[in-house]
Subunit: 300 residues, 2 copies
């Protein structure tokens, strides 16, 4: 059953831990898991694709807001546009720490930009962005910066009858626009922070409201439970905002960004998660040492 | 491909319409539908099982509230307990008409009864109810009063690579407790009115809040879109609260309760839906004339 399984993963502790857990889950015995309970959930930014210099969705949002400021310059005096114009990183880092003031201000900004938009219109904007915008250091569109080993992990889990979900603090509808062709995952398996939509005159239109809280921290297991009726059996993340999701799973995998040469090396925003991983025995994946290939369609 | 397909459906317009639509969806040509878009959504009460003399979940809820009134008799002075004790049907019919006052009062009642409950505790209460409580006229547990022809329709749709969802105004978690063994549908394919849950100390616990609005009327396509990122290709319902869901689908099927002998004959709460069906060419299923068998595990 090896051979092409996890082909971009080097033999080592991380790969072996994944193989062992899944083998036990599908084999009659004490580690066996019923089909219904075989749910895996993965963070997106930094777990499935590059999140430096900022989560790709922020690039998408910032371009929209820059257009809006060009059309209406007085916006530059108010948040969140002011923080964007002044390149105020500290403001946007308030998302990662779930600062309520920052979150509320961003939600107002999203509502201003996209309330009244249909799913088709929003999808078209995201698709245009995925085709045309390139990551500044690596010079290719973000959807080409999905980690090859993680897609192989999806394949391996699905081959063992797991249902794979993505669960990100990022926008549910943003991810759903490329989930099917990029991850091979149906839209209904994508969980994220989400606007509410209203149905009228035969159409679904985005409203100003948000549905539930942000899908970060405790919001991750909350959103997973709401979507699936379960907590995950297997979870993968890379940051402090993934801790609760990883705690809620029976098998937890933490991607460590330690590969300055092929990607980025940083622990900022993941310090507590790395400490928890050591303490609780989560499987830490070293991008540098555990993966032979990081990007690309073919295993290397 | 006929033979065992839709075995409890009599040959006729309804069966033929279903067969033709699905055949076109899976055959290259003008009616072909991509795999990703093959989503079917079905109401539960009155579409998948008996909803007379009242939706089964109300029986479950009323038993809980009766216990609470016995323990604390002063509750009988306030709603929704008062309406229960006085058998005030008009009050509870306010759900079907989405009366905001009634809805708010019921939500307060649900919060009082179940806030703080874990999913395991709630599931156990529902399972106890499904095992012990019998429908008064038909004398068997409600889960045995699922319409055999609709389960065959699920099988037929799945055989044609549709993903089947249930979308009910009833409680999401109530349905999820029996969905897998009763309908053969994973919990994540069950959509309904839902409490919010909070995650703390490694546990998911039901809160007092509701997540989004009631899954009735326009709430049905809204909930389906939120859960799946799509509107349904195929939808089935039986009542006025299903109209928007049926309108949002390319193929709409309306179950008509016209079988006094084997089930019930009534049009109350479905008058507008029946008129819309005629006007818009929805497929009307006569329980009396289109189904050889209504209940039971074996086709008749």
């Amino acid at each position: 059953m090896t051979g092409s399984v996890l082909a971009s993963w080097k033999d080592g502790l991380a790969k072996q831990a994944v193989l062992d857990f899944v083998a036990a889950a599908v084999t009659p015995g004490s580690g066996f898991v019923e089909l219904a309970d075989r749910i895996a959930a993965f963070d997106n930014d930094g777990t499935l694709w590059v999140e430096q210099p900022m989560p790709p969705q922020l690039d998408f949002v910032f371009r929209k807001w820059q257009e809006e400021v060009r059309a209406e310059p007085s916006l530059a005096q108010q948040q969140p546009y002011k923080a964007l114009i002044e390149q105020d990183r500290a403001f946007f880092e308030g998302v990662a720490t779930q600062d309520p003031q920052v979150v509320a201000t961003l939600e107002e900004g999203f509502a201003r930009s996209w309330a009244g938009t249909t799913p088709e219109e929003f999808d078209a904007q995201v698709r245009e962005w995925t085709k045309t915008v390139k990551q500044p250091k690596l010079g290719v569109p973000y959807v080409e910066l999905v980690y090859r080993p993680m897609l192989e992990l999806f394949d391996f889990l699905r081959a063992n009858q797991f249902r794979v979900f993505v669960c990100s603090g990022g926008g549910r509808d943003f991810m759903r626009a490329f989930a099917e062709e990029t991850w091979g995952i149906y839209k209904e398996n994508v969980i994220g922070s989400a606007a509410a939509y209203t149905y009228a005159d035969g159409r679904i239109v985005r409203s100003e409201a948000f549905l539930g809280g942000l899908d970060l921290g405790p919001g991750k297991p909350e959103h997973i439970f709401a979507q699936t009726g379960r907590l995950p059996l297997f979870a993968g993340g890379n940051a402090d905002v993934d801790i609760e999701m990883l705690q809620s799973a029976r098998f937890a995998l933490l991607v460590n960004h330690d590969d300055e040469e092929r990607e980025f090396a940083y622990a900022k925003g993941a310090e507590t998660a790395l400490a928890e991983a050591e303490k609780l025995g989560w499987t830490i994946v070293s991008m540098k040492n555990d993966w032979t290939t990081v990007f690309g369609k073919e295993a290397g």
